[in-house]
């Protein structure tokens, strides 16, 4: 049993490395960039789905967690690059950089999840709309704080971030995110999150500590949002707080709702679709946002459950 798990991991890693080589050397960089962005958006959508879709909470400030992850990871790789890598000079460069990158990403995820904790705890008593507004406010506060931090660029933006993120790293974390969230929700204890969404009072009556689980949802969701942010920073190599506005949070909400609140495969599908669509509509920039907003309205009126509702397809089927 364990052996085959080990073998499976080796196989997946090899596949990812192979695809990475393919994208880097054989496929045109524009397309590769899109594929990488899709991966990041999948991480963002799935992590948001854990909070909004699976646990039924109203978090509309997800871009804030992404920002924390992005700026933390970037600050580490930019400022600690030389001191850390010089200490790791006994290792071959790609390995040293890889380890450094993972550490930076995890730091970003950790800080983001701390923020998730900070948001989750006081908002426990807030219902629906109030929770939504609190998360919105939080997201904006983060943005304003970062905007005023000079050492990460302030209003000019933060540039010269090493380009560590590639197909391999991004999709490695896509797989980790999806696996963790899926396994979490499938487990008997993780199912408590679904129960909380369905009926909090009933959940409490069968022994589920609802407050604790809501916090878990926020913390895990924001952790992966932070990872997504860190990957984003090292793909685009330049950060500006304009990338993390309320509008960005809305984009993620649209992905989750379009895919179906509670459906992980739905989020994957929707994230892919909604990353490709703007590219396909490149020439019609002004119409893009108008079309987007109409899509939102029509979707909620005509098919609020999104593409897949709460179902999963493929290997994630319950």
């Amino acid at each position: 049993m364990i052996l085959s798990r080990f073998l499976k991991t080796i196989l997946i890693l090899t596949l990812l490395l192979g695809l990475n080589w393919l994208f880097k050397n054989q496929i045109n960089p524009y397309f590769t960039q899109i594929v990488c962005l899709i991966g990041i958006n999948i991480i963002m959508a799935v992590s948001l789905n854990l909070i909004n879709g699976i646990t039924g909470q109203f978090s509309i400030g997800h871009a804030g967690f992404m920002a924390i992850g992005a700026y933390t990871a970037a600050a580490i790789t930019v400022y600690l690059h030389d001191p850390v890598l010089s200490r790791l000079s006994f290792l071959p460069m790609p390995v040293a950089e890889g380890l450094f990158f993972i550490a930076a990403l995890f730091a970003g995820g950790l800080f983001a999840s701390l923020a998730g904790l900070l948001v989750g705890i006081p908002t426990l008593r807030l219902r629906g709309d109030y929770l939504a507004i609190a998360t919105l406010g939080f997201g904006e506060i983060i943005r304003v704080i970062v905007l005023n931090l000079e050492f990460v660029g302030g209003a000019r933006g933060f540039g010269d971030i090493p380009e560590y993120a590639n197909f391999f790293w991004i999709y490695l974390f896509v797989l980790i995110t999806v696996a963790v969230v899926a396994n979490l929700v499938k487990s008997f204890k993780g199912m408590a999150l679904l129960a909380i969404r369905e009926d909090e009072v009933a959940a409490e009556s069968i022994g589920i500590p609802t407050s604790r689980y809501k916090i878990i949802a926020f913390t895990v969701g924001s952790f992966f949002a932070g990872i997504g942010g860190g990957l984003f920073a090292h793909l685009i190599t330049y950060l500006h707080t304009n990338s993390f506005t309320f509008l960005k949070s809305i984009e993620f909400i649209v992905m989750v709702v379009l895919g179906g609140l509670g459906s992980i495969t739905g989020s994957i599908l929707a994230a892919t679709l909604l990353t490709l669509l703007p590219e396909a509509l490149r020439g019609f920039d002004e119409w893009r946002m108008v079309a987007y907003s109409l899509l939102l309205i029509l979707m909620m009126i005509l098919r609020p459950q999104g593409i897949l509702g709460t179902r999963e397809i493929g290997f994630l089927k319950r």
């Binding site: 396994n183 008997f188 993780g190 959940a203 009556s205 589920i208």
Partner: protein, 260 residues
Amino acid sequence: MLLEIKNCSLSFGGIQALKNFSADLQATELLGEIGPNGAGKTTLFNVLTGVYQPDEGEIRLGGSSLLGKLPHQINEMGMARTFQNIRLFKEMTVEENVLVASHHRIRSSLLALTLRRKNALREEEVLTKQAFGLLDMFSLLDRRLDLAKNLPYGDQRKLEIVRALVTLPKVLLLDEPAAGMNVTEKKELMHLILRIQSEFGIAILLIEHDMSFVMSLCPRLIVLDYGLTIAEGTPEEVRKNPRVIEAYLGEKVRINSLGG
């Protein structure tokens, strides 16, 4: 004495829902709770399970006080309930509704479960078998993959009871379990309740409006009105009690069922 309720009072704004209410429940006893609408029956359940904290009074389960405890803690201590308006997890399957209730019986941590460690998976297997056994007993096993919201009404009520049983309670609070059921279903339910009592050794406190149901099932009854106990005793005694008859006088339909 398994469950002791002493002088509990609770008011909402100007309304006194429970007034100096006291009652006792022995282990494996089956106690029926009746009373006109608004008497405070469901409020009592809410107080017992920690949804509301009483303004005064004491509640003890197996000697330990329940005051100040959160609902999920009270469930862990051994009290489970069903709801008057059925609160199933509608978008989850029958199976999931029941498995999620095994929550506080799992030793493995959330992390171990997420990483699908061997011990964790084994625990899940054991708990699944137990849960399926219960579903089978209530004839719900072949519908285990159906969504809870798609079950017929009677089965939904049964499922809620199974879900509560999975938490291995010492005391089970049933809030109008027979509501909306037909004669056959009610008969089946009666047998199931008696089975639960004997096979699992659980004490049951049952709220019901159907007089013939509760009087043929429960050897002892308490009658509530305006938040206090107005009578207590065997069905025979209660039936003849003038205070009880007076309390129900406003509800013409009940008079007939009181008589037989």
